[in-house]
Every structure is written in structure tokens, then in C-alpha cells.
Symmetry: C2
Subunit: 344 residues, 2 copies
């Protein structure tokens, strides 16, 4: 990132969220997306200079102009502000326009955990999701993330696209030459398809819940809710007005929303109840003895434990090669040779 | 309700939300549930006297003790308070413990529309939903509702259970002797079932998204998020600690959450963008020409138009008979004889 002109502290913000994405097992939101950020800075469509600015403010709210900086720069600025407001007013609700892709939404929500607060973050994205009954993409994967602290460093961390899956998962399947399960996406006629190419070219992702019969209209409604919190509330681009995915013909102007809630302003004993809530679910007798009941954030915890065990984050060889091509194209050194090969 | 001792203004609050449920086509949350409220007051397990009390307060937040009053009494009190706070502080986030079933969540969210604000409401409920991978109900149907104003009285109104369907829909199918679609609920072993009896007796509803493979873990996560906003934040009952559905052996002590957000504190032009967002979706070319693309709140609008056309709310004969039995049991007059019969 610095090779294409990003300021070192902005590059560091991006590096941290991308590596955290991979570390948590969300490979679709990590180094896999590196070239997109490099291109955005290289072409000048994403700003290199300046810092985000507060445009309008009250004790509990703020509207921020992200000044077209890298998403993580805007995200860190806004989340810090939301937490500051929640300390004073019990809640901080901050929205930003003029932002860019910010990596995993959960990264910002989790920043509230260090302050023993509930954190939330939402972003709109390029149109990739087809509304129930439609055949055209008019909504992004518009994620909902929410983190809540329990005792002893434990936590609940929800971080989910409001589409059945994130686009990155379809892209990874295409890159690996695999088909996708039914219910992830549809073709250009609005019909469900298992071919990632059909979904990526002319089709689209479907909302969580799948078809109308299985409740896809709920996922569509949640995606719209996120758009209201982001593009609509912030006065950023929204819905089909957001630029096409990976086409950097114009400024992204994404809308994002960051919330911190201080449990101290409500009933005492919050983290004790959170720990009990998590224990209830984790302690359940599973339907299949081999598959324990988990809480949101547990799959990521399992992945991070695995990383600790093997001494690093494992990458698919195709992703390593892809990263090295990206490095070569801008004249920086390749990744170090793989020191461990893990069979599939 | 007054026949069993409810104060007239509390009975009116309940009547309004139940009739509004039916009017909007959510028959599972209307008169269909009348006997539950009657029983709660009759047995004394739900309080008849007093009003809700603010326990803790800041400019943007409040913790309310619902004093075990009827849910709509607590809900109206809290939503009014959230709107008042949003006028002054940009946002109002109010949670209540000591509440009871409050009807459709959207009823409270929609109160913000009159003030040109975004409204939200959440409630926990008796354990009816089986977490992904489990076979025991440890979460309620925990609805998410969110209403946002557009121009000329138009609006976006999301009002959805975080289960694939609301329990009332399964109950109505059982009452009518119909089977349910696959993906609504599971049996006592955690396996999907189309028999409403199996779901209602020993089984449970499944989260939105269905099985783990189709993303049910997202619905499970959303149900947990609602529980954090309600039982956990408010210090009410939560998860499997909430009393069993329709068993009034002890006080419900439900947790509920009410939010109002003032768009004036963010970017100008909110309602214009809302109208455009709604137009984009509604104007889409549908996959099936007979099924237009809708926005959340439109199916309810269609139902209310239908009511207007026929001059009232239509009820299934079985529901009318059931209501009359309920009336008879407490010695009040039956519903007026049906003046119109609409064939199935």
C-alpha cells in the first residue's frame, strides 16, 4: 500500500483489518481483496491525504465525512467517536459518508469490547444482492455486526452479511473451480443457480432466507434496514447508485454506521448475564454429537486457536500465488516462501 | 379485558395493538391471542394497577420497570420516551424489564413515523426457537422491527421474527388442520418436520435461514442479538429462563427495547432518499410478471387496502368461533354475527 502512495499509518490500519479478517477465518475479507485496495489508491479514486472530519454532532450522535479515505481509516475514526460518546451519553450513533470498503464489519464492533461496551457496525456495498421477486442487483451484501462483552474476555460477536453468503465466498469457489450450494445466488433471470460464474456474471447473491417461500424476504428487509442506517442516513450513495463491484470509474462514497452502547446505563450485571446466555447455548445437548452448539464468534475463536497451533495463518496456494502476482505488478517483494504445506 | 379487571385505558392500549395486528394481516398476533391476555389478568400473574416507572435515565437512554403491566402499556410508555429523547439528543434507546407480551413489534416502531423519525423495537419471548445444531428451545422468536419515514406518508416497515416464521403461524396451521412447509420448525430430535403438532409439542421453530447449510446460524445470531438488547441489557428474564409459552405459573418479566433516531441529526434529505430507495425496489422488473417486487410494509398495506374495500377485517370462521368461546367463558357478549362470508 505504501508503494502506491498510501500514508504509513493509513496502510497500517488497512493491514490490521485485512489480517484480522484472515486470522478470524473470513478469508473472503482479507488478503484475498488486496488488489482492490491497491487499485483504488493507484488510480487515485480513493484519497491518500487528509483525515475524516465531523460535520454535525450532538452528545450522542455524529455525521462524519470520510473524505474518501480508505475504509478502515474512516471506520476507526468513527468507532472511536461512537465509544467516546457512549461513555458520556450512554450511546454513540455515528454515520459516515465518503467512505470506502472497510474489511470485516466485526472489526469495528469488537473495538467496543475493550471498553466493556456493546459495539455495532454496518456498511453498504456495491449492488450484489437481488431483492426477493427481482432479477437485478439493487442492494449490497450490507453486513450487520454486533459484539457484546461477557466475563473474562469472552464475548458474543455476530458478523454476518444479509445475503445468504458473502460475495467473497462465491469468488473463492470460482477461483478454486468449485460449484456453490443451492441457495447462495441466482442467475440473470432471478433463478437459483449452483454455478458461481452465472451468479457473478449477470446474476446475483440472494438474501438470507433464500427464496420467498423460505423467508428470503426477511433477509431482503434486513439488507434494506442496513441501507437505511448507511447510505440513507449518511447521505452517501445507496442501493443501485453505489458503483459497480470492482469498477473504480468513480468515487465509492459508501455509507457506514457505527454504534456503541454502554451497559452501565442500563441494568447492573450485564456481563454476568452475557456469560450465562453464552453458557446456556454452548452447554446444549447437540442434535449431532459431533457438532457442538456454538455462539456467534466461536467459529472465529476456533480458527484463531488453529492459527496459534500451527504458528500462523494458513493460505490456499492459489491465494498465495495471486498475492505474489499482485506484489510483482507493483514492484514489491513477494511473500516469503511457504514454510509449511497443509494438505487439503 | 375490563370484564376481568383491566383498567379501561390499559384495555384500550391492548385492543389497539391487537386489532392493528389483524388489520395489517398478522393474524397470529391479533385476536387469535386474546385468551392469553385474559388469562394473564384473570390469574393475577399480570398486574392490573400502576404505571411503568423510569429507573435510570440519561439524555439519550433509559431503563424502565414495566411493573408487570400489560405489554402494550409498557411499550407505549417506552416508545414515547424514546421519541422524546430522540427529539432532544438525536437518539433515544430505552429498555424495559418487567414487561409482558406486547403484540406486533412494528406497532411501536411505527410510532416514530409520525415524528418523521426512524423507530425500532425488539422483544424477547418464551423459548420457542432451537439454536442451530441444538434440539432444545432456548430462544424466543425475538422479533426485529424497524420503521423509516419516506415522503407523503409512505414508509419502510420491517417487522419480522428472527425465527423462520412466528409461532402463531404454526398454531394457525394446527388449528386449521394443515401441514406446514419444510423449514419452519423441527421435532424433538432437532430434525425439520412438516407436522405442526411435532413442532409445537417437544420440537421448536428454527431460526431464519433454516438449516446450518442454508445459513440458519445467521438467524440464530440475530435472535441472540435481540436477546442482548432485551433480557440481557434490561436485566429481565432471558433465554430458557423465560417462562414456558402459555404457562402462566409465574410473572413473565420480559425484556423489551425501543429506539427512536432523529434523521435531522444526520444528513439532510432523509425522506427524499427513502422515497427513492423504495421506488428503486418497487420499480424493478420482477422475475415472475405476476409477482411485483415489494418493500417491507407493502404486504401489510395491500392487506389494509383489502380491509378498506370489504369494509372491515375478515376472520377465519374457526377464529370467530374460538373468540366466542373465549367471550362465553368470562360471561361477556359474543362477536356480532358475521355480516359477510368470504369463500376460501
Amino acid at each position: 500500500m505504501t508503494a502506491v502512495g498510501t500514508k504509513p499509518h493509513h496502510a497500517r490500519s488497512l493491514a490490521e483489518v485485512l489480517v484480522e479478517g484472515d486470522h478470524r477465518g473470513h478469508y473472503s475479507h482479507g488478503l484475498n481483496r488486496m488488489d482492490m485496495y491497491v487499485k483504488d489508491i493507484k488510480s487515485g479514486i480513493c484519497a491518500k491525504d487528509g483525515e475524516p472530519v465531523v460535520e454535525k454532532e450532538s452528545a450522542a450522535t455524529a455525521l462524519v465525512d470520510g473524505k474518501n479515505l480508505l475504509g478502515p481509516v474512516v471506520g476507526n475514526f468513527c468507532m472511536k467517536l461512537a465509544i467516546k460518546k457512549a461513555k458520556e451519553a450512554g450511546i454513540g450513533w455515528v454515520v459516515a459518508h465518503g467512505s470506502n470498503h472497510y474489511g470485516i464489519a466485526g472489526y469495528y464492533a469488537m473495538q467496543a469490547l475493550k471498553e466493556n461496551m456493546i459495539g455495532m457496525s454496518f456498511t453498504n456495498t456495491s449492488p450484489l444482492v437481488v431483492p426477493t421477486r427481482g432479477k437485478e442487483c439493487t442492494l449490497g451484501t450490507n453486513p450487520i455486526s454486533m459484539a457484546a462483552p461477557a466475563n473474562g474476555g469472552d464475548s458474543f460477536v455476530l458478523d454476518m452479511a444479509t445475503s445468504a453468503v458473502a460475495l467473497g465466498k462465491v469468488e473463492l469457489h470460482e477461483r478454486r473451480g468449485d460449484s456453490i450450494p443451492e441457495g447462495w445466488g441466482c442467475d440473470a433471470q432471478g433463478k437459483l443457480s449452483t454455478d458461481p460464474k452465472r451468479v457473478l456474471q449477470g446474476g446475483g447473491l440472494v438474501p438470507i432466507g433464500g427464496s420467498e417461500a423460505t423467508g428470503g424476504y426477511k433477509g431482503y428487509g434486513l439488507g434494506m434496514m442496513v441501507e437505511v442506517f448507511c447510505g440513507i442516513l449518511a447521505g452517501a450513495q445507496y442501493s443501485k447508485h453505489v458503483r459497480t463491484w470492482k469498477v473504480t470509474d468513480r468515487v465509492a462514497n459508501l455509507g457506514q454506521c457505527f454504534v456503541a452502547i454502554n451497559p452501565e446505563n442500563f441494568a447492573p450485571g450485564f456481563s454476568d448475564r452475557m456469560s450465562d446466555l453464552l453458557s446456556i447455548q454452548r452447554g446444549l445437548d447437540p442434535a449431532d454429537p459431533g457438532c457442538p452448539v456454538l455462539a456467534a464468534g466461536d467459529p472465529e475463536r476456533i480458527h484463531m486457536d488453529e492459527c496459534k497451533k500451527i504458528g500462523g495463518i494458513s493460505y490456499h496456494l492459489k491465494v498465495v500465488n495471486y498475492m505474489n502476482e499482485c506484489a510483482k505488478s507493483i514492484g514489491v517483494s513477494s511473500l516469503l516462501p511457504c514454510d509449511k504445506l497443509i494438505p487439503n
